[in-house]
Symmetry: C2
Subunit: 454 residues, 2 copies
Amino acid sequence: MTKEEEEIKRICNEVIERIRPDDAERARVKAVTDSIIDLINQKALAMDIEAHAISVGSTARNTWVHGETDIDIFIMFPEDVPEEVLKENGLALAKSISDRYEERYASHPYIHAYFYDSERITEYEADLVPCFALKDASTLKSAVDRTPFHNGYIMERIQGLEDDVLLLKLFMMCLDIYGSELRRKGFSGYLCELLILNYSSFVELLSNASRWCYGERIDLEGKGKYKGEDPLIVIDPVDRNRNVAAAVSEYSFCRFIDAAREFLTQPQMSFFLPRVPDPMSAEEFAKQVKNRGTVFVMVLFEAPETVEDILFPQLRKAEVSITNLIERAGFKVYGSDVAVESGKAFLLFELLIWSLPRLKEHMGPPVTSKYHSEQFKNIYASTHRLFIVNGRYTVEVERRYTDVVSLLKNELISCSLGKDVSESIGRGYEVLRNEEIRFVDGIGYFLSSYFRGI
Amino acid sequence: MTKEEEEIKRICNEVIERIRPDDAERARVKAVTDSIIDLINQKALAMDIEAHAISVGSTARNTWVHGETDIDIFIMFPEDVPEEVLKENGLALAKSISDRYEERYASHPYIHAYFYDSERITEYEADLVPCFALKDASTLKSAVDRTPFHNGYIMERIQGLEDDVLLLKLFMMCLDIYGSELRRKGFSGYLCELLILNYSSFVELLSNASRWCYGERIDLEGKGKYKGEDPLIVIDPVDRNRNVAAAVSEYSFCRFIDAAREFLTQPQMSFFLPRVPDPMSAEEFAKQVKNRGTVFVMVLFEAPETVEDILFPQLRKAEVSITNLIERAGFKVYGSDVAVESGKAFLLFELLIWSLPRLKEHMGPPVTSKYHSEQFKNIYASTHRLFIVNGRYTVEVERRYTDVVSLLKNELISCSLGKDVSESIGRGYEVLRNEEIRFVDGIGYFLSSYFRGI
């Protein structure tokens, strides 16, 4: 065993002791889970609803990281129940057993509820999700119906590999690439479990990931039919047409590969400690702006009241549209990012070129095109000096916007922004430049992450 | 006849009276030409040189514009004379008959001499050019050997069309596109004559030219084999593999088309009056710079002592190389031009972007390329913050040159500039910006032509 291998082993052992739920925690979680299931099943009988509850997710599989206990209970309805009945009865059942809950919405509505263990030591959070009990994962009515199949597949195979799953999840969390939400575009818990199943251990996975190529394909059952072009393709064992890693962005993919190589060659405990950046202060920011010589422009508006998985794709779309608007006008973007904090949405652009001369070349038709040349000259010849450049008539016109701030103040709304973002921006927005950016509402954290790098 | 046609006829008649040499002028030129030929032939006999002189060019064909009298005398040697003998005897013969002359050099050396007419009223300039008398234009020893064939072809056909040739030549002169020198890249006298032969009149040529397309092909003898891709292709009737219009630039081609259309629709005497622009003053220039918002940078150096046809292609090459240097460094050129005046060479660049932030993104290898990633990190990881952008490692480095003037002051000599220009610049050059540009040495004319348009 090399020195690095020994060090890796030492670190992993130390980490696992820290994050593996102890027997008492496991027993408490199991007791709470069982009691919720019992309550639902009893209520179903009492309310004459044909449904039963099952435990799924990391708490069902013993793959939750200490302190990250999310209990997932699925309330299973027969396939032939109409969808509206499932929703109505499912939510009614879930609400009937909870003292404190919120109604939430993913692809389907569900109940997020709070339960104490029997000794009232710890309060646990649980998602109570109505779904259809299908015979076959290929006849899905909605994405949640797939979960019980995932649960079954992992439950049957994961025993003995739980510690490796825990290490991988914490590793991903500390890289900020854990979770398939569209804000993060990282690795889901289920994907982590499949990766461990495929490579048989955390270290073996890292060793393979350090040599991954774009389009890396993993197919545990060898029956994949998925044809997409994603950075990472992990065929869903319960649905051969689906890529479990479809949400993994190029960035998350690369970040994981990079960290895998780094950890294997220079193992350090820091890979398992969350990086909490200090917020950037106004003074630090001013210093950065001066050193870099660039200009920062921030578009600031009220965050639309919509779930993150809808809001973030819209913000990313706006980021691309606005970058295009800026560069079509002749300016140059160096970098950009988006964030939502304290009810505000931010679009940040760092500019290499933010100001241009008034003068602009307006290109006309080729001189050899007689008809179009006449049209062009009718418009311009009496008011503009004509030039011939590369065989075309050109005239010198005034640039409409000579700086990025005036461009954004006037043309932002013409961009393709996404429905909710567009509506919110339509109600008003600010365009702030360099020192006008106010260090409130978490902007300091946002900016420090912008400058941080990997 | 339309109103425009009448006006065109009136203008052309007026112009032709002004520029057609009168009988006295013609007689004087003929007398001088004949006397030069006689002198050469007598001297050849006396010096026992087997050679005879002929008159070629516009004075031989009665197609010279009043005041533009260039007498061309070719001294014809038998094909079997060795080239060195031709040069030696040809120049000796030419010198022996001239009191005042200069030795000049095109593709071959020749003598430029001065002769008075018999009444000593006018001094004429004549080129005395030794060449081979060939049987067939396809067995050329040098480009000058083609001239007697051109002369024969035009002499046999041009009678009656001389006035149209004169109108065309003056039209081209006033557009500044007459002459095939590489400084101008316009229409040669021979090309003008062929165009008139082909279209039978000046007005008919304009009418056709107003509909010319890129790659327009004219082949009087219908035997052309030329395959090049020039804007205008006029097959040489005495050499079917040659394009007489090869020197015509896209600009000259377009300029002629544009003027043809303009003159036909709005005939004006101004088309036959040379445009002599006023030189721009320092004050006017400063005002232009302010209005345009751009920055002008001029590279100034001693003009190499070489003929224009060698110098100008080198200056144009330098213009392109330096534009590429500027744009590779991230700046943006709006326009550029070159000039030679009073022994100085000028390269002018007008910039849309002349200054950039210190910050520069340096792109590394794709993260998935393990070997190159390690190399890149070995170089940068200890000193630079790493980012992952579009699947590649990147670092932020300092831009070497943040303004165009410092770039040119330091890197100009690394450009591909052409031998003579490179040597001259190697001996020293200046880079001047906006108000530093000194209005001496014809710079005022150069700048006013830069801003003038068509």
